[in-house]
C-alpha cells in the first residue's frame, strides 16, 4: 500500500438531521486504492456518513471538514462531487419510471465525461463501451433496457448499483449497506464484482452492519462507528472480532471514554 496524501480526509465531522445530532466528531482518512470497511450497530450513523459525503441536502453539517482530492467536499454540490469521482451505491435505490437503465447510465457517464473534457458517447458508442464493462465483470445486459429500478427485486436494485459503479468508474466508491437484503449467491456476485473493480486509483468505503460481506472482500482497514464516533479502527481481523463479540463491548468503551 502506498502511503501518500489521503484522497478523503474527514476531520471532526458533526452532522445533524432534523435537529438530531447523528455524527458527533468523525475522523477518517482514506488513501487512493484503499478499501475501508465502516461497521457499527444500527443507528450509529454509518448511513448518515455515506449520505453526507455524497451531499444529501437533508443533512446539516454542524462542524468539521471533509477534504477530497485537495478540495473542500462540503462546499461542492452533489453533482460536482459525482463528477469529481465520488460514487454512492445507495442503500435504497429509487425508481425512475419511463427512463431505461441504459439511457440513464449514458446520461450519467456523459455528465462525467463532459467534466473531464472527454467527448460524450452517442448511443452506439455507449453500447460498445457498456459491452466491455459488462464483459469485464461477467454480467449480461438484461437490466439495461428496463426502466431504472422499476419492478426490480431488492437484490436486482443492489446489483444495479454495482453495475453503475462499474460503468462510472469512480475514484471513491461508497457502498451503503449494499449487502443488506442480498441472498448468499447475490452477495457473492456483488463481492466478486467489487474485487474485480479494486484498483490503485479507486478507493472504497464499504458501509455494512454485518461481517459476512467482508468474508469475500478483504478490507485494508476496518472502522467501528458507535454513537456518532469512530471508536475503533484496525485491520481485517477487527471484523472477525466484531462478528464474535458483537458491538456492545465497543459501545460501552465509547461511553466510558
Amino acid at each position: 500500500m502506498t502511503k501518500g496524501r489521503a484522497l478523503l480526509e474527514v476531520q471532526g465531522l458533526r452532522v445533524a438531521v432534523a435537529g438530531n445530532e447523528i455524527l458527533k466528531g468523525v475522523d477518517l482518512a482514506i488513501r487512493d486504492g484503499e478499501v475501508h470497511a465502516l461497521m457499527g450497530p444500527n443507528g450509529s450513523g454509518k448511513s448518515t456518513l455515506a449520505q453526507v459525503l455524497a451531499g444529501h441536502p437533508a443533512y446539516t453539517v454542524l462542524a468539521g471538514t471533509v477534504r477530497y482530492d485537495g478540495k473542500d467536499l462540503l462546499e461542492m454540490k452533489p453533482e460536482d462531487r459525482a463528477r469529481a469521482g465520488v460514487f454512492l451505491a445507495f442503500q435504497y435505490p429509487v425508481e425512475i419510471r419511463g427512463i431505461t437503465n441504459s439511457y440513464f447510465l449514458r446520461s450519467a457517464l456523459n455528465a462525467l465525461r463532459k467534466e473531464r473534457g472527454e467527448p460524450e458517447l452517442d448511443p452506439i458508442d455507449f453500447l460498445q463501451f457498456l459491452e466491455q464493462k459488462l464483459k469485464a465483470i461477467g454480467w449480461d445486459d438484461s437490466m439495461m433496457n428496463r426502466p431504472v429500478n422499476e419492478g426490480f427485486s431488492g437484490g436486482e436494485k443492489k446489483r444495479n448499483e454495482i453495475l453503475q459503479l462499474a460503468v462510472l468508474e469512480p475514484r471513491l466508491a461508497i457502498l451503503d449497506e449494499t449487502d443488506s437484503g442480498l441472498d448468499i449467491d447475490a452477495l457473492k456476485t456483488v463481492a466478486e464484482t467489487v474485487n474485480k473493480l479494486r484498483a490503485p486509483d479507486r478507493a472504497f468505503l464499504i458501509v455494512t452492519h454485518y461481517q459476512r460481506l467482508l468474508n469475500y472482500i478483504t478490507p485494508d482497514v476496518v472502522h467501528v462507528l458507535a454513537d456518532g464516533r469512530i471508536v475503533k479502527s484496525g485491520g481485517p481481523e477487527l471484523a472477525h472480532e466484531l462478528e464474535a463479540k458483537g458491538y456492545d463491548w465497543l459501545r460501552d468503551a465509547a461511553m466510558v471514554s
Binding site: P57, A58, E79, A82, L88, I96, G98, Y103, A111, P147
Partner: protein, 477 residues
Amino acid sequence: MTSIEAHVQQPYKYGFVTDIESEVVPAGLNEDVIRLISGKKGEPAWMLEWRLKAYRNWLKMSEPHWPNVKYGPIDYQAISYYAAPKQRPKLDSLEQVDPKLVQTFEKLGIPIEEQKRLTGVAVDAVFDSVSVATTFQAELAKYGVIFCPISQAIREHADLVQRYVGTVVPHNDNFFAALNSAVFTDGSFVYVPKGVRCPLELSTYFRINASSTGQFERTLIIADEGSYVSYLEGCSAPMRDENQLHAAVVELIALDNAQIKYSTIQNWYPGDEEGRGGIYNFVTKRGKCAGRNSKISWTQVETGSAITWKYPGCILQGDNSIGEFYSVAVTSHRQQADTGTKMIHLGKNTRSTIVSKGISAGRGQNTYRGLVKIMKGAEGARNYSQCDSMLIGDKCGAHTFPYIDVRNSTAIMEHEASTSKIGEDQIFYLRQRGLSSEDAVSMIVNGFCKEVFKELPMEFAVEATRLLGISLEGSVG
C-alpha cells in the same frame, strides 16, 4: 419554493405584444355583429343562417359550471369578436404579408417565409381572427390535398364544408360550441382525398395579439377513404392582466380505412403566479370515425391557459374503428385544468386507448375527466384507460373522474390509475450520478410523460419537451 418547483415554474416566454394596427369591431355580441363577421369573410347565405341559428340557441343556453374549476363571471358583451391586422385582405403571395406578422411568427419559432420554412411541415398562421399565411398550399394541391383557412374553404369548397360542418360537433352541442358556431372566425380546413397519404405534416399556429378580444377558431379535417393525415396545432398569447376567452371547435371526420393523427401543443398564456390574467381555454374537439377500420388519435400537451376545459373525444361509429387519446396536462402557479376525453363506441369491435398524465405544481389543480361509453350495438368493444398523476410540492391537487357506461356485455374495459410525488430523494439520486438538478427533474418528468411524447410527430416532440423544460434526449432513451 423547492428546487424542483423552480424548474417546473418557468417564466412564460411568448408574452410579447406585436405593435400592429388592427381593425377591431366594438365589443358586444348581437346578430349584427354576426352578420358583420360573416360579411367580412364573404360567406354565402347558408353559412350566415347557420351562425344565426347557433346564436339563437346559445341565447337559450347557460354556461356549464360542472367542471372542477373556479372563475368569475364572463361578460360576453365586453369581448370583441373580431380583430384583424390591417392589410390587404386577399393575399396572392406570402411576400405580401406584413413584415411585422412575419417577424411575430418567426419569434414564435414558426417561420412562414419561403426560404426559412420548416421542412416537411405546412403551416397555417392565424393571427387574432384571421389567417395571415398558409404555406405549401400549391405543393399540397398536387396531391389533391386542400389545406387552407376555413374562411377560404367556405368560399371555395362550399360543398365539402356544408356537407360536414357541424356533423360531429352540432351548433347546439354545448354553450361554448354554440358561441363558437355563431362567431367563429378563422381556423384551418383540411381535406385529404381518397387513398392519399398527406406528404407533409399540416399545422396551424394560433396567436392571440389584440387585447379585450376572444379567439374563436374552427377547424374541420376530413380524411377520405384510405387516406392519412397528421396535423398539429400550436398557440400562444401575450401576457396581460385580463382573462381572454378562447373557445374553439375542432371536428374530424375519418371515412373507411382513413387515419387522422391530431396533435396539440397548447401554450396559451397561463396567468401570473398569483393567478392574474391568462387564457380561458374552453374548447370542444371531437372526431368521428365514420368509416370501417378508421382511426383517430388525439395527442395533447397542455402547458398553458389559466383554465383549460376540453375533452377531445372520438365517436367510434365504423366497425373496427380505433380512437386514441394521449395527454400530458401541466398546471403550475394557479392554473386549473379539467381535461380528458370521451370515447363513444357504436360500431362492432371498436377499440379505444386513453393515456392521461397530469402534472401539478405550485397551486395548480389538475383534473382528469373521461367518459367511456359502450353502446348496445358495439359487440366486442374494448377500452384501455390509464390515468397517472404526478404532484410537485404540497399545495397542488390532482383529481380523477372516470365515467364508464357499458351497455353491451361483450365489452372489455381496463382502467389503471396512479398518483406519485416527485421527491427530493429521486432528484438526489440522479444528482449523485452527476446530473444537474435541472436535468434530474427533466429526466423524471420526461420518463413520466414518455408514453405520450412518443406519440408526437418528431418535430413537435422537441417543442413539447422544451416546453416542459426538458431535453428531448430522455424520451428517446
